[in-house]
């Protein structure tokens, strides 16, 4: 058995903490357990999350609630076609009193950002957010400013209204550690939502992470053992998505472009956090499979053949996972 009792104790403590966080979030958000875990996973891995779902599924409410439970600052940016990069990052403004330009920081200078309907803003705004997400810093005028730590972006997309939207470029999509799909709640969950309509705003949430920082969870996740065979398994999965032209696998014709090495890193990190969620100090192939859909969904560009056969990325990922041997 593993002798690292200290690590297991810490994992159990972290698990208790995460359970408390889930419980607090559950006071305001009914159901959506997968999405809550996805968001927590994104925060712990230091990545950013893209959420796809129709309006009215409590996406904003969820991010707000998580920020509150994490004891973090929260800002929401509604992306519109007339939005400018400066509206996001900030700009230099002139002060008549002193006669000089001073920086005015934008809404990205916070811990948790909700980039609502990100695909409604033009590419230049998306690029500004891209820099913030990738570098953790923003340049205003001649100065570069570090963003808050933790810095977490949850961007949302509406899958049904595509008119007047700007498709996110693959390079930007790749910056998101995961793409989550939010679905409608079940009828039972919807009944509970109705029961809580009047009392939801009165709920006072406990700041669970006041004593236990997110950085500690990050550090803890990095101590979770990943065997060499698991690493090879991750690489095999990502590599299987890049077999276009080799024609040895049936799904290759549905893939235009495969996943980048960022996908391997994201799978690696998310699998570790998943093991943490499962109260384990080592990663199993189950952890890799559990996060594979969310991690790869937006990284695999489908071919026109996949579109013509009405296949989704999830269908292709399922095929990939079914052919890659588990160690």
């Amino acid at each position: 058995m593993n002798d690292d009792k200290n690590l297991m104790d810490q994992i159990n403590d972290a698990s208790t903490l995460l359970d408390s966080a889930r419980k607090e979030i559950g006071k305001k958000i009914i159901g959506q357990a997968g999405m809550i875990d996805g968001l927590l996973m994104g925060i712990i891995t230091g990545g950013h999350i893209l959420v796809e779902g129709v309006p009215g599924l409590a996406k904003t409410q969820m991010v707000k609630t998580i920020a509150e439970v994490l004891n973090a600052d929260f800002k929401r940016i509604q992306f519109t076609p007339d939005l400018l990069p400066a509206d996001l990052t900030g700009t230099m403004i002139y002060r008549p009193q002193t006669g000089e330009f001073v920086p005015r920081k934008g809404p990205v200078f916070t811990n948790v950002v909700l980039a609502d309907e990100i695909n409604r803003a033009p590419a230049k705004v998306q690029s500004a957010l891209l820099e913030a997400m990738a570098e953790g810093q923003v340049t205003i005028g001649e100065n570069t400013y570090r963003l808050a730590d933790p810095f977490f972006v949850m961007a949302t997309q509406n899958p049904i209204e595509q008119e007047g939207t700007y498709q996110l470029p693959e390079a930007q999509l790749d910056r998101f550690v995961m793409k989550l799909k939010v679905d409608y709640p079940s009828p039972q969950e919807e009944l509970l939502i109705l029961d809580q309509v009047d009392s939801r705003n009165e709920q006072v949430l406990r700041k669970v992470f006041s004593k236990y920082s997110i950085q500690d969870l990050k550090d803890l996740s990095t101590r979770i053992r990943v065997d060499e065979s698991i690493k090879k398994y991750i690489v095999s999965i990502v590599n299987a998505s890049r077999v276009k032209g080799r024609h040895q696998l049936p799904f290759t014709r549905f893939i235009e472009f495969g996943a980048s090495p960022r996908a391997s890193i994201a799978l690696y990190n998310c699998a570790r956090v998943n093991a943490l969620f499962e109260k384990r100090d080592f990663v199993l192939p189950e952890d890799v499979k559990a996060v594979a859909y969310n991690v790869l969904r937006h990284r695999i560009v489908l071919s026109y053949e996949a579109d013509s056969e009405e296949l989704s990325s999830d269908d292709v990922i399922k095929d990939i996972l079914s052919v890659v041997a588990v160690p």
Binding site: M1, N2, R225, D227, S229, I230, R280, D281, F282, V283, L284, P285, E286, K289, L321, S322, V323, V324, A325, V326, P327
Partner: protein, 292 residues
């Protein structure tokens, strides 16, 4: 035409015999038409003016072209029915040699023997030949023909039977093949596990076990995780204890493979013994439930 001619000749014969104080009536041949070598039964009614005590001659005349087999005389009041069984060996119309019936010599009997041969061909006497078909030949022939006709059906039936049996044997062989292969793998691992690195041992072990279970549950488990295998076993109809034993094996091996747990040599031996027991139990269960 021919019959009419015979009838005319017979009438002539009957007319002439009347001059010798006897008359021949109702001359009949059985069969009516006969050929060279056929046995013919000739019968007629003999009428005489005087009473005679007719007797069958001790020796029948032998003219060479004819063989008289037997003769029967039956008195019917004033009439006498004579029946002569004979074999003619010469075609055409010929007079029978005189026949002494004991006091009355009948010498104007004629017979007409049909022939298959051209009448213009040689009329040389041929020696008596053995019959073409020995007795029972037709029955044997019919039997042979029947057998020949039934032969394809018999061959098809035998072929089907052999194919069915062979198919069953091959099917049984194939069904049991994965288990035998797995047993061989376990034996191979047991022989070489002393020098086998720990990782290699457990990778080989789970690889073999997954391959074996894949054949038993008709689902490729090579890309399945332990949780997925557990779900599959849960959905199958195997006994819970058996499913749990299999899942526990995978869980224990997972800890060695991925968590870095160390296991002693004895643990390996125990693992192999356990997997042998579990696989044997699974085979027993499979035989009872063929539709696994």
């Amino acid at each position: 035409m021919k019959k009419g001619f015979i009838f005319f000749l017979l009438l002539q014969a009957a007319f002439l015999t009347a001059a010798d104080n006897y008359q021949i009536h109702n001359l009949r041949f059985m069969p009516p038409e006969y050929y060279v070598g056929d046995t013919v039964e000739m019968s007629f009614i003999l009428k005489t003016d005087q009473v005679h005590d007719f007797t069958v001659p001790e020796e029948f005349p032998d003219p060479g072209w004819l063989n008289i087999l037997s003769m029967d005389i039956e008195s019917k009041g004033s009439e006498t029915e004579v029946t002569i069984r004979l074999i003619p060996y010469y075609p055409g119309t010929r007079a029978l040699p005189p026949v002494d019936l004991g006091g009355l010599i009948v010498d104007d009997l004629k017979i007409f023997t049909s022939t298959l041969l051209n009448l213009e061909s040689s009329r040389e006497l041929e020696g008596v030949q053995s019959p073409l078909l020995i007795p029972g030949t037709r029955a044997v022939g019919a039997l042979i023909v029947s057998l020949l006709l039934a032969l394809p059906i018999l061959i098809v039936m035998v072929y089907r039977f052999i194919r069915h049996r062979t198919g069953e044997i091959v099917k049984t062989y194939k069904i049991n093949l994965p288990y035998r292969q797995f047993q061989r793998l376990v034996r191979k691992i047991r022989r070489s596990m002393v020098n086998m690195p720990e990782k290699e041992f457990y990778m080989t072990f789970t690889g073999g076990l997954k391959k074996y279970l894949s054949t038993r549950f008709h689902h490729d488990l090579s890309s399945s995780t332990t949780s997925e295998i557990e779900n599959l076993l849960g959905r199958s109809r195997i006994h819970d204890t058996l499913a749990l034993s299999l899942v526990n094996l995978f869980h224990r091996v997972d800890r060695v493979k991925f968590a870095g747990d160390k296991m002693l040599y004895s643990d390996r031996e125990q693992l192999l013994s356990e997997v042998e027991e579990v696989s044997e139990a699974l085979e027993e269960w499979r035989k009872k439930h063929a539709d696994i």
